[in-house]
């Protein structure tokens, strides 16, 4: 019996899809049988992030409405034979699926896969309710910005109201240099406010743009810092106890000078 994990955030653009793609790919590269489900109906993107956009025939709505069987809609990944994508429909809207259908689908996926990762759309309306309907666990993605933290707080409240207890937090796009200057909230500031358990911190990293350009999740790039962060998150999801990666920035010469003459 597998596990269904929903990746959500409230606010758009904080990295839900990138996170879903990387966690899914990471779990698959560790040998698990994984399916990634894009529930952002009308605005599908998980397919392009994974580089699978040319292979789509059927989609999520075809499966839930009985137009095709689940197996027909699943797209096998190019790199891992044990990784699959269930793409969102692009020409319909969120009301084309309801939470009941998503629960049924989740049960079907759990029977077949070790992990089903659900990529949730932004917002708190039906798309969100669909995405969380069949989930066993939730991961909340948040960037160190006032707007993202506020929305994450709202989402955590809604998850608990839906009986999805103990959601885990991923802090995404952290810039250690800005944290050091006091111009960005630090990990402890955000944890202080949201009061949930942290499952990983992903530094801002240009390699994410490059990997999305190519359609190859950064988690496979051994030289990528964000990729390393996602590899650690993957292991934590599997239940391993892994320390946070070291995000310290080298101290600049001006900083050292200031400290030397007692200005800092």
């Amino acid at each position: 019996m597998g596990e269904v994990i929903v990746v959500t955030s409230g606010k758009g653009g904080v990295g839900k899809t990138t996170t879903s793609a990387n966690i899914g790919t990471g779990l698959a590269s560790n040998g698990h049988k994984v399916v990634l489900v894009d529930t952002d109906i009308g605005l599908r993107n998980l397919d392009v992030v994974l580089g699978l956009e040319n292979r789509i025939v059927y989609d999520l709505v075809d499966v839930t409405s009985g137009n095709c069987r689940l197996k027909q809609a699943l797209i096998k990944d190019k790199r891992f034979p044990n990784l699959f994508l269930l793409p969102a429909a692009q020409t319909k809207d969120k009301t084309a699926v309801n939470p009941e259908q998503m629960k049924t689908l989740a049960d079907e996926l759990k029977a077949e896969f070790d992990y089903a990762i659900i990529d949730c759309p932004a917002g708190i309306e039906q798309g969100f309710r669909n995405a969380i309907a069949g989930a066993d666990r939730a991961v909340v993605v948040c960037t160190p910005e006032v707007s993202a933290v506020r929305d994450a707080d709202r989402i955590i409240g809604l998850l608990e109201a839906a009986e999805l207890r103990n959601p885990k937090l991923i802090i995404n796009r952290l810039r250690p240099d800005m944290v050091k200057r006091g111009d960005m909230m630090d990990i402890s500031d955000i944890l202080d406010i949201l009061a949930i358990e942290l499952i990983g911190v992903v530094p801002e990293d240009e390699s994410i743009v490059v990997s999305t350009n190519r359609g190859e999740p950064a988690v496979m790039d051994m030289g990528s810092k964000a990729g390393e962060a996602y590899r650690r998150i993957t292991k934590r999801i599997e239940g391993e106890d892994i320390p946070l990666m070291n995000l310290d920035v080298p101290v600049g010469i001006m900083d050292r000078l200031k400290r030397l003459i007692g200005l800092r």
């Binding site: 933290v149 506020r150 707080d153 200057r181 111009d183 960005m184 630090d186 200005l263």
Partner: protein
């Protein structure tokens, strides 16, 4: 320029992260409270119960609100007292 000098002297005005955190703290008090009016109602009932142990209050005229200005969030209650309860006063003396 002044800011630059104070920066050089290490007397930075509040860093922007401190501002962010403080603003978030305030906005979330309100957000979290507005998520459940039921909680606010429950609190009002509990408060009335406790106060009624000590004094008789005019429940109909009771005002109970979460107020926010840009510096703080406050729970403001205006509770008209009809009369004090004598039995509490005697109990209080006995102790």
């Amino acid at each position: 320029m002044l800011e630059f000098i104070s920066r050089m002297l290490g007397r930075e005005s509040a860093s922007s992260k401190t501002v962010a955190k403080e603003r978030l703290r305030l906005v979330l008090v309100h957000d979290r409270a507005s998520i459940s009016p039921a909680m606010l109602n429950k609190l009002r009932e509990d408060l009335v119960k406790v106060i009624s142990n000590y004094m008789e209050i005019d429940e109909a005229a009771l005002e109970f609100n979460l107020c926010q200005d840009d510096r703080e969030v406050a729970l403001v209650a205006n509770i008209p007292v009809v009369k004090m309860k004598r039995d509490y006063a005697t109990k209080g003396l006995a102790e």
